[in-house]
Point group: C2
Chain length 302, copies 2
């Protein structure tokens, strides 16, 4: 198993699904602490219209503030369209994340475009970001199934991946937006992408809707995924799908990795501290486990 | 992956951890419905002293009633000592489950005996049960770590397994009582047991204390485990360990298996119905996911 990179998406994928808008100062505190915990990437926000998604209305302000500071983690932002890219470029966002849904229905509901048009559009936007000197990551949403359509043809998913590869985009996230994935499927898809090009950085974005979240994350890692997108406390869920649950909890995955001596550089106590504060701020118990139990005493190498 | 057997331990491992005592008639209703759902084994109760564990005080009555009925599942009962065995034999319990903790501290707190004495004792009791014509299953508790001791030496665990095998006991459950297991460890332990004797029926009993429960279950299945012990709604946790959380939810695992066309003979809707009733009776949300979300529409074979 490769050493695994952790991309914390709680401030974006987690908070965009919340009914309440978290104040900018509170977000900044959480983001700063996660960004200095040893986690590799933190997704700060999404360049959507603030009037449409008030939870993300302070994305520009967050980046403007964070750009003046030094943090260990790379900061990423989600860009949905050309307008979002303009904002991200102006703000100097180091890692720009873009995506397309492999589900025709989900894609249309999300963007007004079908998958084919959306792929063309997103590739053009991604290449523009890269030409501007930014790191770029592209995703296939609803890769393992769709809340609207059910099964998504594997060939459609690999078609989007192939289009990305042909455009030279090699950081590719397979996103289980609706939580339909099962471990054998995750393993097969990751292996198929790596068979297309062994140099691809495969990223897994897994939702735990039906209880298979962590099993799917391990299947992805064992199959060669390089990076996992997780969320503090297991917060999250795509507001555009019908049934959705949170991501796998960042601190639960880091705890699991540290059980086998991996990612000992990450300050697990710091992550647990942030998640406790997130739970307290939101006023409810989150799906994550380790922030409630604390870590297992000692670390068992194996 | 072998076809997986499901052993529902909710009525025992689940309900013994609850503060409230569930009325016998209510338990009977849940047990009957699970026992006719297609699940292979249902653990009805534990032959402990009713004054010490009031949640299990009706175990004899449950077996007396169920013995007069015809159910598809095999009924099992947990036996801790000679006195318990007498009761189980008298009641005609078809599958008798016994166990020893690989943790010296856990074993002493649980039984008053260290692991070595407990192994001798439990093997004698198991052989007596078998001579009486009963099926027998033996477990290694705290096999993957202990809430009191932390790491448990792998050689101690395999020592208990070897003692079982030498006594001719070949249905062996590896129990992650404290939830310390991680997937690589589960895989290795299951493979080691099968290397000792490929004919062993390896059973995995996994607690989801630190969020790795389902990943561990998949690791066990992929490594050759034949049977998984699960609990409706993910209820459970050993009351004798310091930090404990529930088992993996029966309906979540069955849902996962049915995603790949396995165990289509199990009536998932019936399981979900029971878990909804358990949650309503206990008056709280349970850790299981699928009873809340419902199953994914359609079944995606892969």
């Amino acid at each position: 198993m490769n050493p695994i990179l952790i991309h914390e998406v709680g401030p974006r994928d987690g908070l965009q699904a919340e009914a309440v808008v978290v104040p900018t100062a509170v977000k900044l505190d959480w983001i700063r602490r996660v960004a200095d915990s040893g986690v590799d990437i933190v997704q700060v926000g999404s360049f959507v219209r603030g009037d449409r998604m008030p939870q993300m209305a302070d994305t520009d302000e967050l980046f403007r503030t964070l750009a003046k500071e030094a943090h260990d983690a790379v900061l990423s932002g989600l860009v949905l369209n050309e307008k979002g890219l303009e904002r991200a470029l102006e703000l100097g966002v180091p890692l720009i994340c873009l995506g397309v849904s492999a589900s025709e229905t989900h894609s249309r509901k999300n963007t007004g475009m079908g998958t084919e048009d959306a792929v063309r559009h997103i590739i053009a936007t991604a290449l523009e970001a890269r030409q501007a000197g930014r790191k770029v990551q592209v995703s296939v949403q609803s890769a393992f199934g769709c809340g609207f359509e059910g099964t998504i043809d594997e060939a459609r998913v690999m078609g989007v991946v192939t289009a990305y590869l042909e455009a030279g985009l090699t950081s590719i996230s397979l996103a289980d937006t609706a939580g339909h994935a099962h471990p054998a499927q995750v393993r097969r898809y990751v292996q198929k992408v790596l068979a297309l090009d062994p140099a691809v950085e495969v990223i897994a974005h897994i939702h735990d809707t039906y209880g298979l979240g962590m099993a799917n994350v391990y299947a992805a890692m064992e199959a060669g995924a390089r990076s996992i997108e997780t969320s503090f406390g297991g917060l999250g869920g795509c507001p555009f799908t019908k049934v959705a649950a949170g991501n796998v909890a960042t601190e639960d995955l880091v705890h699991g990795l540290q059980r086998v001596g991996q990612r000992m550089d990450i300050d697990l106590a710091a992550l647990i501290g942030v998640t406790n504060d997130v739970a307290a701020h939101l006023g409810r118990e989150l799906p994550g486990r380790v922030y409630k139990t604390g870590p297992i005493r000692g670390t068992e190498m194996s």
